[in-house]
Symmetry: C2
Amino acid sequence: MTTPLFQHGTLALLVPGLLDGTLTMADLLTHGDTGIGTGEGQDGELIILAGVPYQIDSTGRVNHVPDDFTLPFANSHFAAFTPLLTATHRDRRDLQAAVLAQTHSANTFFALRLTGTFTALTTRAVPKSARPYQSLAATAKRQSVFSRERTTGTLLSYYAPQVFDGVAVGGFHSHFLAADHAFGGHVLDFATFSGDVAFQQFDRLEQQLPTQNQAFMTHDFSHDAILDDIHHAEN
Amino acid sequence: MTTPLFQHGTLALLVPGLLDGTLTMADLLTHGDTGIGTGEGQDGELIILAGVPYQIDSTGRVNHVPDDFTLPFANSHFAAFTPLLTATHRDRRDLQAAVLAQTHSANTFFALRLTGTFTALTTRAVPKSARPYQSLAATAKRQSVFSRERTTGTLLSYYAPQVFDGVAVGGFHSHFLAADHAFGGHVLDFATFSGDVAFQQFDRLEQQLPTQNQAFMTHDFSHDAILDDIHHAEN
């Protein structure tokens, strides 16, 4: 029995801007010591490492996250990574392909943790929107983009099989935190990575939906371009 | 905290015929006393009511299901239904629309249990295929269709939101068992229903994938027409 991957909300609910915080950070941490997410109103990019949650806000600052911080969408799991490979100046696409070839896990959920040095790492973070919340497409237009020619830190990815695209990000969804806690965010791209790649297989997704949230329960998704907007905003 | 809906496998893995039985009935029953599914090789249509699993095979017979019977795809949950409405000669589409309007649960997972009398109820059951297993489209061509002008029994539906289409059946997925255990199967249609409609909300899907099954792990889904084939075969 492997540990499960916990997910609260779906990527799809970000598309029309159903951005109420429907889970507290304290609750999220009961499902894992490792994770990613965003805050109410898409308030920055979150990453949880070794039980400590960090928020990268739209100014690029890395902030402490209190227990009562709320989130519309998040993943977490209890880390039990196993070493997969050691990389030396590996290209991003090449590294992702190597992981899929070595693990045969493309049809499943798994986590990947890259610890080492990245070149040309580009991240983004979006500014919090207030009610009435903005759509994913509108929020993405206001995003801040940050980059470092060379940075050392931890990149955490969750991989979801394509049939779950829309529920999660089909493929790799990655957030980064620099070792000095001075840089991070949702990863848009990097050129090369040198360091350790660790892998954790999940055989179970625990998918929670915000059934107590009226905006979510009464929303008509049939007019939202879920996949188009996600692919545009998340890649 | 509501009880979760458990799902083993996805509808998508039936499309290319990844039909190895990767969960035993005994295991499925640890996740619920109520459920639906199909056997290894798409061996009939299963329904679990009050902890007892029944199989409707392609001859239309209702069979006892042993604990070591294996399944590639199944749902189960612990029944805690609440009465929703009483129907009198309600049309199927009209009844489904009324349930969605009354519960505001179209964006979530829920179960529906209809106990009463149905007119023009049509079901299907498919014959088991041996290795190499047939695709969902090929199996559907060999299905047996059964109908009753009037029958009394229990119809169990699981509803999945559209963003989960392919993972599950987006919308209602229904199996039936007659009160006399002489008729049942995967529900294709019915004209009217008179009786009690009970509802159970889920706020969590426990999605398990067969990560120990080599055929599943190594399959390339990118050439499968997942949604087209499911919509053709399941409706």
